[in-house]
């Protein structure tokens, strides 16, 4: 038991992951590894399969094959509601703020899955706007505030691996900057973060490594140190 606990597993290890929505085959054998405390991005064009990779980790796609190990535990046969309990916090594309819940209810909705999460007070200090508007309807917040709420919501649960899907999409530069600061903060706290991001300039300075996804496969792995050398390769894949 103590041996297992001290043994260093990768936070996330995906081998040969295929995913399907009905008849359509979206992921064609994803392999990737994320070490504890790393911030890794999934880059790629729209429809490349980045969001689906996150959803597949959460067991939110129609059918999956292959292997997804979280902290050394195989999760392919895990029910969706048990994935979060392994310490995974998921922030979906378009944020998933509930309209019929107040800001406070949205924030406290996800159950605590691990000890060591941020307390309500700490969260409200980090995001003072949310405190001011805690009794408002969740979807009455501005886009930026909703994104803060979606992020704050999973920080409270104690999740130590965050899956963040397009969190900067459609937000003003000043908000994006604030999000960047929050991510640096979280990384310093030792959280593992997997970022699906369209905005390469946002992701580049934050990430330890980048995976480029195309047609449901990982086609390139670039570490932070290689960014400069591989810039032309990235440009080609991302079409910038």
């Amino acid at each position: 038991m103590s041996q297992n606990a001290t043994r260093e597993y990768d936070q996330l290890r995906i081998d040969g992951l295929h995913a399907f929505y009905g008849e359509s085959h979206i992921l064609h054998g994803i392999d990737l590894v994320v070490k504890r405390g790393e911030l890794v991005t999934l880059l790629g064009r729209n429809g490349a399969g980045r969001s689906t990779t996150l959803k597949a980790i959460m067991n939110m796609v129609g059918r999956r094959t292959g292997s997804i190990m979280i902290n050394g535990e195989e999760t392919m046969s895990c029910a969706p509601h048990n994935i979060a309990r392994l310490g995974v916090g998921y922030c979906p594309e378009h944020r998933g703020i509930f309209a019929s819940l107040s800001v406070h209810e949205n924030l406290t909705l996800p159950p605590i899955v691990r000890s060591g999460g941020m307390g309500l007070e700490e969260i409200y200090t980090m995001f003072p706007n949310l405190y001011e508007r805690r009794f408002s309807q969740g979807t009455k917040l501005s886009g930026g505030e909703q994104q803060m709420l979606a992020l704050a919501r999973i920080l409270r649960t104690g999740a130590n691996m965050l899956l963040l899907d397009e969190i900067t999409e459609g937000l003003a530069p000043v908000i994006v900057e604030k999000l960047g600061e929050v991510l640096v903060d979280l990384k310093n706290k030792g959280l593992t973060i997997i970022l699906v991001e369209q905005n390469f300039h946002f992701a580049a300075p934050l990430a330890d490594r980048h995976y480029v996804v195309e047609h449901g496969r990982i086609v390139e792995e670039v570490s932070a140190g290689e960014l400069h050398a591989k810039q032309s390769v990235l440009d080609r894949y991302l079409g910038v």
């Binding site: 959460m58 939110m60 969706p80 509601h81 048990n82 994935i83 979060a84 309990r85 998921y90 979906p92 998933g96 509930f98 309209a99 019929s100 819940l101 209810e105 406290t108 909705l109 996800p110 159950p111 899955v113 999973i154 649960t157």
Partner: protein, 295 residues
């Protein structure tokens, strides 16, 4: 004797009272339908049968085991709730995500089976359930006579309706329910056991119907087909109110009972059709119902 629009005050208030009581039943039943529709996205055609099971169960428990009214008021809904959880777990769950028509047919079939079995055993002529002694008699309010039991039905139904509204709108469990209604997949992603929540919600929804059934046992005729009669009206109430609003289901239920009662006073021949007339008008003006949200 004072008259209002050519109708004696006592007659008017008597009909109003009956209207409010019928409305209380409509409210309880449409509330259950709305709760179930919210999370499961199915129209529960077995709802009338569950109401009937509540009433029949009350009589059967009394006749065979001597279970009194107060115990039945608690026990019958719990038993029917368990039936509901089993129906959800073994039947509805298997067709989740399929076209609406499947759940409609399935719940309709469940209702027919329950009705059929009980008709076979007890016939359709109705069982007798005598009023609990403490509710015999009534009080003269001056302008009308108010039987104690009718007053109790109104109070009990409104309390349960308010309690349900409070639970859904103001508590943590209710927040789960509301959030699950919007996006149950994301809820599950947060670690909430949505399949369990779905089972319990269906069970709770049919418990409300069974509770209405127990309340109905001493004043309505208790037969295996009593549910199918009231269900048609309740569906019209639900269409008028619009599914998806808890408060709306309650208000529309009481309101339609009153409308029915008033029609009975002023133009009796139209009383059984008036709710459907209102339904047609509402559908023409507000297709999503009075309290419904745009789909």
């Amino acid at each position: 004797m004072s008259m209002i629009f050519g109708v004696p005050m006592a007659v008017l208030s008597g009909q109003l009272l009956i209207g409010i009581i019928n409305g209380a039943f409509y409210a309880l039943l449409s509330l259950g339908l709305a709760v179930i529709f919210g999370l499961l996205k199915i129209i529960n055609f077995a709802h009338g049968a569950m109401y009937m099971l509540g009433a029949m169960g009350t009589v059967i428990l009394f006749d065979n085991l001597g279970v009194n009214y107060w115990v039945a008021l608690f026990l019958a809904p719990v038993l029917v709730g368990i039936v509901g959880v089993l129906v959800e777990y073994f039947l509805l769950r298997r067709i989740a995500g399929q076209d609406h028509i499947y759940s409609l047919l399935l719940t309709f079939g469940v209702a027919l089976i329950m009705q059929g079995i009980l008709t076979n055993i007890y016939g359709v002529s109705g069982l007798r359930y005598s009023m609990p002694d403490m509710f015999k008699g009534g009080v003269n309010l001056g302008f009308m006579f108010l039987p104690y039991y009718r007053a109790w039905v109104i109070v009990a139904a409104l309390l349960v309706c308010f309690g349900t509204w409070f639970m859904i709108e103001k508590t943590k469990l209710g927040a789960y329910l509301r959030a699950g209604t919007e996006d149950s997949q994301l809820m599950q992603g947060f670690g909430i056991n949505v399949p369990l929540l779905v089972s319990l919600t269906y069970g709770f929804g049919v418990m409300l119907a069974a509770f209405a059934g127990v309340l109905a046992a001493p004043i309505y005729s208790v037969t295996p087909v009593m549910g199918s009669h009231i269900l048609i009206v309740v569906f019209a109430v639900v269409v008028i109110g619009g599914l998806g609003s808890i408060g709306g289901a309650i208000i529309t239920g009481v309101l339609m009972g009153v409308v029915e009662g008033l029609t009975k006073t002023f133009y009796p021949p139209a009383s059984s059709a008036v709710i459907f007339l209102v339904m047609v008008i509402v559908l023409m003006i507000r297709p999503h119902g009075l309290f419904g949200k745009e789909a």
